[in-house]
Amino acid sequence: MKIRAYLSLFRIQTIADLQYRLAALAGATTSIFWALIEITIFTVFYTYSDRTDAGLQAGLSLRQVVSYVWLGQLLYLMLPIAVDSEIQAKIESGDVSLELVRPINLYTHWFTKIAARRITPLCWRGLTVIIAGLCMPQAYRFGPPASLEGFLWTLMAIFSALFLATAFGCLLCAIRLSIDWGNGPIYMLVLIGQVFSGSYLPLQLWPQTWQRWLFLQPFAGYLDIPCRLYVGSMPEQAAAVILLQWFWIAVFVILGKLLMAKQLARIIVQGG
């Protein structure tokens, strides 16, 4: 039954999206533009720089980087960019206490809501981006996955990345609930997540000495891990990295739940 409700929610959201004259497409232009500029910059470095083979030494060829950029644009849409607007409004108006009236677990409720919001942009805007990537001329084209096996691992990693992004989104809500310094700290956390996800630059191209640490930190699971699995620059450790993603999901969920429970207890005692 729940799935059915979810599907119809999804449909309504999609229809509303489409109705506004392909707003999705307009949004996709930005992602496509961004991807093209990044690819241009990478091409310049891989072709004209003093050390053109520096990329290959780091384990990424230009072809791999191009595919990484396109898939990265898609996954970037999934990252939480702020506290979910609806939840934010409830926190600011103090209506959170009203949510407690409902006979459901607040964390689960928020988790589902945020997850839904993380998927919708993937479907229309993301699909447009991917199709655009496939239609580009050779030098800019989104290439095929490195191997079938790698592709299956990629799908699993994307699936886990969705949970990771959602769990982080929930943690942000819990933090927003606990501090009243406005959104400044939240945006900073969001930004840290984006930077270390690899969306600014594939993590493999970051300084060599940081590699081990960059690989283990939670935000690699957002984007870098699925992209690496896709382009085949991490062939041996597929199962291990997905476990790593789930380890961080567990950490975020536990932290979020603890923080939220503590805060809600306070709200109940003080009466909102």
């Binding site: 229809i15 489409l18 109705q19 392909l22």
Partner: protein
């Protein structure tokens, strides 16, 4: 002196419609179907200096479109509108310097700052000289009793307090015309009465011409001498409130308390006779049977302890009128 003249104003709107049927949403994303709606259809009226005009009509009849045209927000498709010898949408800046507009559901004050700061900003927006501003502010503070509110941020005011400040804000620059769009919406009884009293005195004292749209007929009854009724974009009535009542609420209701219980009996020329407990109600048309004749007739038949003659309820009258005009 005619301050406001509208003649043959027409305005149509295009409303987009979602296609029906299969893949409707998908088709709607690419092509849009529009439907044209005649919001105003040859609207003509004129308003004199110092009049307090009530502008009524059901939702969607064209009230706010007319107000928007008169205040220069909208351009009509055709027709002539002259206000203070200007065409509002052609000389926007000069026109709006002479008018004030209050929207009951929207604030013109800055939400996060104290009321006084908003007023100061309005002083600069309307370029009011300082001495005049101080004088006017003092005057308004006294009559609207908002002195204690001036240092409070707007978001902390109650609706009644906020509305008083809104009205003061729109009168700071001494406009000659004030448009009020549902100013009493959501206010409690005390605030409503105070507001009406203020508008009345301001109208008398300064001769400000006021145009009021409202759904609260008590506002109209308390304030307006002249009434405009609009429906489906057409002006349906333009005249005095008493005339309107004559047309749509000609009846009076006589209510009498009687000492003994009696059976209902026929009353000649009466529209309706009924009993509730010890109260006898007779609805009659003063045009057919004068009140004194009716009272005389009744006093022959029963012992009248106490009696009142009431006008028909104005809300009921308007409902009746809308129905009659099939609005």
């Amino acid at each position: 002196m005619e301050l406001i003249t509208l003649s043959n104003i027409c305005k149509t709107f295009k409303v987009s419609q979602r296609p029906q049927g299969r893949f409707a949403a998908l088709r709607g994303a690419f092509l849009r179907q529009t439907k044209t709606i005649q919001a105003l259809d040859n609207v003509s009226f004129s308003i004199n200096q110092g009049e307090l005009v009530g502008y009524i009509g059901p939702n969607g009849a064209g009230k706010s479109t007319t107000v928007k045209i008169m205040s220069g927000i909208l351009t009509p498709d055709s027709g002539i509108c002259r206000i203070l010898n200007r065409v509002p949408w052609q000389e926007r800046v000069k026109h709006v310097a002479n008018i004030g507009v209050v929207f009951g559901q929207r604030s013109q004050l800055w939400w996060d700052v104290p009321v006084k700061d908003s007023f100061d900003l309005l002083k600069d927006i309307y370029n009011i000289p300082l001495p005049e501003y101080s004088k006017r502010l003092q005057e308004l503070t006294e009559t609207m009793q908002i002195g204690s509110l001036l240092s409070t941020p707007v978001r902390q005011l109650s609706l009644g307090q906020r509305m008083r400040c809104e009205i003061a804000a729109s009168l700071l620059h001494n406009p000659q015309i004030l448009f009020l769009d549902e100013p009493t919406i959501g206010l409690d009884a005390v605030s409503k009465l105070a507001l009406r009293e203020f508008l009345k005195t301001e109208n008398k004292k300064k001769g400000i011409t006021m145009i009021l749209t409202t759904h609260d007929m008590a506002d109209i009854e308390a304030l307006c001498s002249k009434v405009l009724v609009i429906g489906h974009g057409k002006i349906l009535f333009d005249g005095e409130l008493s005339e309107l009542k004559q047309l749509y609420a000609p009846f009076r209701c006589l209510k009498a308390r009687v000492s003994q219980h009696i059976e209902p009996f026929p009353v000649p020329e009466a529209e309706q006779v009924s009993f509730h407990g010890d109260t006898l109600s007779v609805v009659f048309d003063p045009g057919k049977v004068p009140a004194h004749a009716l009272i005389e007739y009744l006093s022959h038949h029963i012992e009248l302890n106490d009696l009142v003659i009431e006008e028909q309820n104005i809300e009921a009258m308007v409902a009746h009128m809308y129905k009659e005009l099939s609005l």
